[in-house]
């Protein structure tokens, strides 16, 4: 079946290997690709932090760009890769951090070397901490000015009260102002080790060549010694009922996010989840877009919300509405949830599967995107990787599975609503949510 799909879609399959230092490598050869992409990921994110160090994973991700053993400062790192037409960056999530780099294929050695320098040999000097601290505090300012980010943050607090997952990835200014270079180095030493790392690679090169280049880039990587670090601990948020509100004075648009917790990545049926999310809100033909945006005009924008992480996830719907139409918009979203709890119509199901298939093909195209996806799958604990696995999972989904999943996930007692915009009447929003009935459980 996998081979048939591979031929049908023209897709290569990834290969895996482990370097002598313990670093896992997941590689996908893409014949004819102009670029090479690499992502060196570490199995640590904001959910792994002690609360007094809130934001340290993301801060560390910034700090490593301030200098490494081979590159004195951020300018030297940037000049090395940008001078050959390449690009580099990094991002931090709830449970992992990825350092990414891409360039035309002839610069493959550099594409491996840059992430390795950042992860294995960062300088982490006190002056770097002082220089980078205001930059991250400005980034927090941007987040405060974004209604979408604030609604997402409020939903995280609503669905995960008492959990480290509820903490914003970017952290808090008070914690960032207090953190020292010594603490950052301890955190780095505890987590940035080969056993917690994965290198995702994609481009037109063989596995043998990839392994040789990767081995040379990371060198003799062994864990640094440092005092133990505090255990992860959760922020203190009140669960605060069904609805959380972020008031933003003067705004003329209200952002809504309705979601329910789903399990850890390893426990999720990914094919069914992808089809459910697509049915609900991905694409013009989804229930949310065609009904609430196009037909009824209740939402200005809308879509699915699927945050799937190593330890916990959220599935739901999001959108924006005129402030005076926010209650009607929530009622509309509730009606979509009711619809999802029924068996999907044949044409809706076929559209969702078709669209999800197209999205897989689009996601597994550019070498850098492929490297990021491979790294992501490995860090989530998967043992099989690549687009074929995704297509395989998709091909096995049935309409009955989708209905069961929707009924389980979107049970009213599990749903939480987060809203960001001008001041609004919370009681009316809560009332709108009560129109979601407890579904009759489908017989197995």
């Amino acid at each position: 079946m996998a081979t048939e799909l591979a031929v049908a879609e023209g897709l290569p399959e990834p290969q895996t290997a482990t370097l002598p230092c313990g670093l896992r490598v997941v590689h996908m050869r893409i014949p004819g690709a102009v670029a090479i992409g690499a992502s060196l990921g570490i199995d640590v994110g904001s959910a792994d932090e002690p609360d007094e160090w809130a934001g340290i994973s993301h801060f560390l991700e910034h700090l490593v760009f301030r200098g490494t053993r081979a590159y004195a400062d951020s300018l030297a790192i940037g000049q090395a890769i940008e001078a050959v037409g390449g690009d580099f960056n990094a991002f931090t999530g709830k449970s992992y951090t990825q350092y990414i780099c891409s360039a035309p294929l002839e610069h493959r050695e550099l594409v491996m070397q840059i992430p390795a320098e950042l992860v294995v040999r960062p300088a982490l000097r006190q002056q770097d901490v002082e220089d980078e601290r205001p930059v991250v505090i400005r980034e927090i300012g941007l987040e405060e000015d974004s209604a979408g980010r604030r609604a997402s943050r409020a939903l995280e607090q609503g669905v995960w009260p008492g959990s480290t997952m509820a903490r914003s990835i970017i952290g808090r200014p008070d914690a960032l102002r207090a953190v020292t270079a010594k603490e950052v180095r301890r955190y780095w030493a505890a987590h940035y080790v080969p056993a917690k790392a994965t290198l995702g690679l994609a481009g037109d090169l063989s596995l043998e060549e990839a392994l040789e280049l990767a081995g040379k880039a990371v060198g003799n990587w062994h864990p640094a010694s440092a005092p133990p670090i505090p255990a992860p601990s959760a922020p203190a948020f009140q669960s605060n009922g069904l609805v959380r509100v972020e008031t933003m004075e003067g705004r003329q648009e209200t952002v809504l996010a309705l979601g329910a917790p789903v399990g850890a990545w390893r426990d999720i049926d990914h094919g069914a989840t992808a089809v459910l999310a697509t049915l609900a809100g991905d694409g013009e033909g989804s229930l949310t877009v065609r009904s609430l945006v196009r037909k009824q005009g209740l939402l200005l924008n809308g879509g699915a919300l699927a945050w799937l992480n190593r330890d916990a996830g959220v599935l739901g719907l999001t959108g924006s509405a005129r402030p005076d139409g926010a209650v009607a918009a929530v009622e509309g979203i509730a009606s979509v949830i009711r619809q999802l709890q029924q068996a999907p119509a044949g044409e809706d199901f076929r559209r969702a599967v078709g669209y999800a298939r197209g999205e897989i093909l689009r996601q597994w195209l550019r070498p850098l995107d492929v490297a990021i996806q491979l790294c992501h799958q490995a860090l989530m604990g998967d043992t099989e990787y690549g687009p074929l696995r995704d297509l395989h999972e998709l091909a096995a989904v049935t309409p009955e599975q989708i209905q069961r999943l929707a009924q389980n996930v979107f049970a009213p007692e599990r749903l939480r609503l987060a809203v960001a915009g001008p001041a609004m009447d919370v009681a009316r929003l809560e009332q709108a949510l009560t129109t979601i009935p407890a579904p009759k459980r489908a017989r197995r």
């Binding site: 879609e9 023209g10 014949p31 004819g32 690709a33 102009v34 670029a35 760009f65 951020s74 300018l75 790192i77 940037g78 000049q79 940008e82 001078a83 050959v84 037409g85 390449g86 690009d87 580099f88 360039a103 035309p104 002839e106 610069h107 220089d131 601290r133 205001p134 930059v135 400005r138 927090i140 300012g141 941007l142 000015d145 209604a147 004075e249 003067g250 705004r251 003329q252 648009e253 694409g283 013009e284 033909g285 877009v289 065609r290 945006v293 196009r294 005009g297 200005l300 005129r322 044409e347 076929r350 559209r351 078709g354 669209y355 298939r357 197209g358 093909l361 689009r362 195209l365 550019r366």
Partner: protein
Amino acid sequence: MSVVATPRPAAPLTRTASNGLRLVASPCSGGLATIAIVLPAGTLYEVGDARPGAAHLLARLLTQGTHTFPTAEALAMHLETLGGAYSAGAEHDLTSVVVSVPATELPSALAAAIEIATQPTLAERSVRLERRRFSGQLRGAAAVPAARAGDLADKLLWPDSPEGWTSLELARAVSRLQRSDLESFHAAQFGVSGAALAIATPTPLQQALASVEAATARWPAGAPRSPVIPALGQERAAAAAMAADLAYLVLAAPAVRRGHPDSDALNLLSIVLGGGATSRLFVEVREKRGLCYGIGCRLAGHSLGGTLRIDAGVPPDHLKEAVDAIIEQIQDVAATASDQEVDKARAMLLGHLAMESDRPETWARRYSRDIVQLGRPRTFQEIVAIYQALDAARVRQVAGAYFTPDKLRLSVAGPAVTRRQVRGLVPG
């Protein structure tokens, strides 16, 4: 310039169909194909009896029903079941339609893409709903500080042109539009004579072009209007007091149209100043001073004009320091832009473009825009030759000519900011 040694996308195949439609086909690998249609139907063509806002509202309605698929739902069910993704949007000088599908579904998607451009239903109910939705989105954007600062900068530069409309002005214009306004704009601007269609496909190109020519044989002629050439405004500072954590600033200057002799040198200048992590603004304003998270400089050029624009979100109590630091870099680059900086900017531009070739839609989008904006597609090899001919002296020259103090416009949106305060920050 080792970046030039990388294997390049093969040359495209071009053809003018018997009805005058300009076609281009580009090879690509992988399982996807892309169709891009571009028409001279941007806001700058809203002249004469064409009503303001028509280009944007019409573009948003193109995908909400066609002759064969009369509703948004029918069209979505058709294309998305095939695995397709599609969009349509208007800009200052053009409207584009892009459809991406698994290559096996190309014939079916091609027919739908052509209908989206040529036979939208523009149903009365869809017009009413989209008009309301679009004006709601625009009012929402007008209350977001970063978007407001951008609006104000455009207004300072082009106060009497559609290019300078603020979101609120556009919202008011859109709410007055009728279906007949959209039909007449479509009849005039969406004709075959000004249009271009590009296709990127792993299937044989000659065959693909023959299919396109057959499928577009009955595309109506149209009668395109002449566009408005925007006139520069005299005001140089604008402010909007808004609740926010940061103050959002935009420093802008008028630039040139795509294809102008200075256009490519200005593009390199924008990268030297504010492209990537080693640009002057990033290093000075973010890395050294810690005044912002992101800062960039961008040349936005179209077939009739262009703008150089720098934007950043900074602490309100450091606004003056940030503006002074940016202006210092603008003035300095005209005197000191080095060969090394220009080489790096060129490598970035060409490297990114080469790497984007791994996505089929890249060249379909580029070629179709080139035909409408420049008259013909520019191949990768031509782009390389153009940029290799530019040196640091040329970049310093355009920096000195276009980023002079008298040309700069500054807009700021943030807490308690005043126009008087912003006026005091503008040089000259």
